[in-house]
Symmetry: C2
Subunit: 116 residues, 2 copies
Amino acid sequence: MSALDPAVASRLKRNADGLFTAVVQERATGQVLMVAWMDDDALARTLETREATYFSRSRGEQWVKGLTSGHTQRVHSVRLDCDGDTVLLEVDQVGGACHTGDHTCFDADLLLGPDL
Amino acid sequence: MSALDPAVASRLKRNADGLFTAVVQERATGQVLMVAWMDDDALARTLETREATYFSRSRGEQWVKGLTSGHTQRVHSVRLDCDGDTVLLEVDQVGGACHTGDHTCFDADLLLGPDL
C-alpha cells in the first residue's frame, strides 16, 4: 500500500488524534449514508483501491467498510473541503450502510420534520 | 430561547468540547454543502427557529449561518444518526454555503475523480 500523496497530506487538517471526518453520500440516490473518521493511511487506501476505508476509533484500527458484513462501498469520487478537515465520498453502497441494518445511519431518528 | 428538549439531549454523544457534527445537505439538489459543529444551544435554536445555527470553534461562540453574509439556511428537517454524534440538516440555501463564495465547501478540491 502506498503512502498518502504528500501534496494531499499537506492540505489535510487533522484533529488531536490525527483524524479527519468523512461524509459518505450514495451516488445513485444522493442520500447521506453515514459519517466516519479517517487517518492518512485510510485515505491513501481509499484513493488507491476505491474501497471505502476508515479508522475505527472504538477499535483503534483501520476499518475496510464491508469486510465483515459484505456491505461494501465502491468509491466513485473523493473531495476535500475548503478548510481541509472533511472529505466527501461519493459511493455505490452494497446492502445497508448502517450497522443496524438501516440503509443510512440517519433513517431512525427524525428530530425535526418537514416545514410544510 | 428554549433549552434543548431533554429527550433529545439525552441521545446526543458530544466530544470532549461538548460538540457534535452537523452535515448540511441542500434540499433542492441533494448536494452536501458543508460540515460544521453544534453544541446543545445551537441545536435547540435550529430546531426552534429553523434557522441553521452552529458553534464556531475558532470564535468560541454561537454562529447563526448567514447573519453577516446573508447566505442563510432555512432548515427543512433534522435527523440524528445511529450513534448520536452527528445531525443531518436538510436546508434551503440562500447564496453560496462556503465562505469562499463557492456553492459548497467541496467544490474546489477533487482528490479522486469518477471511476469511468
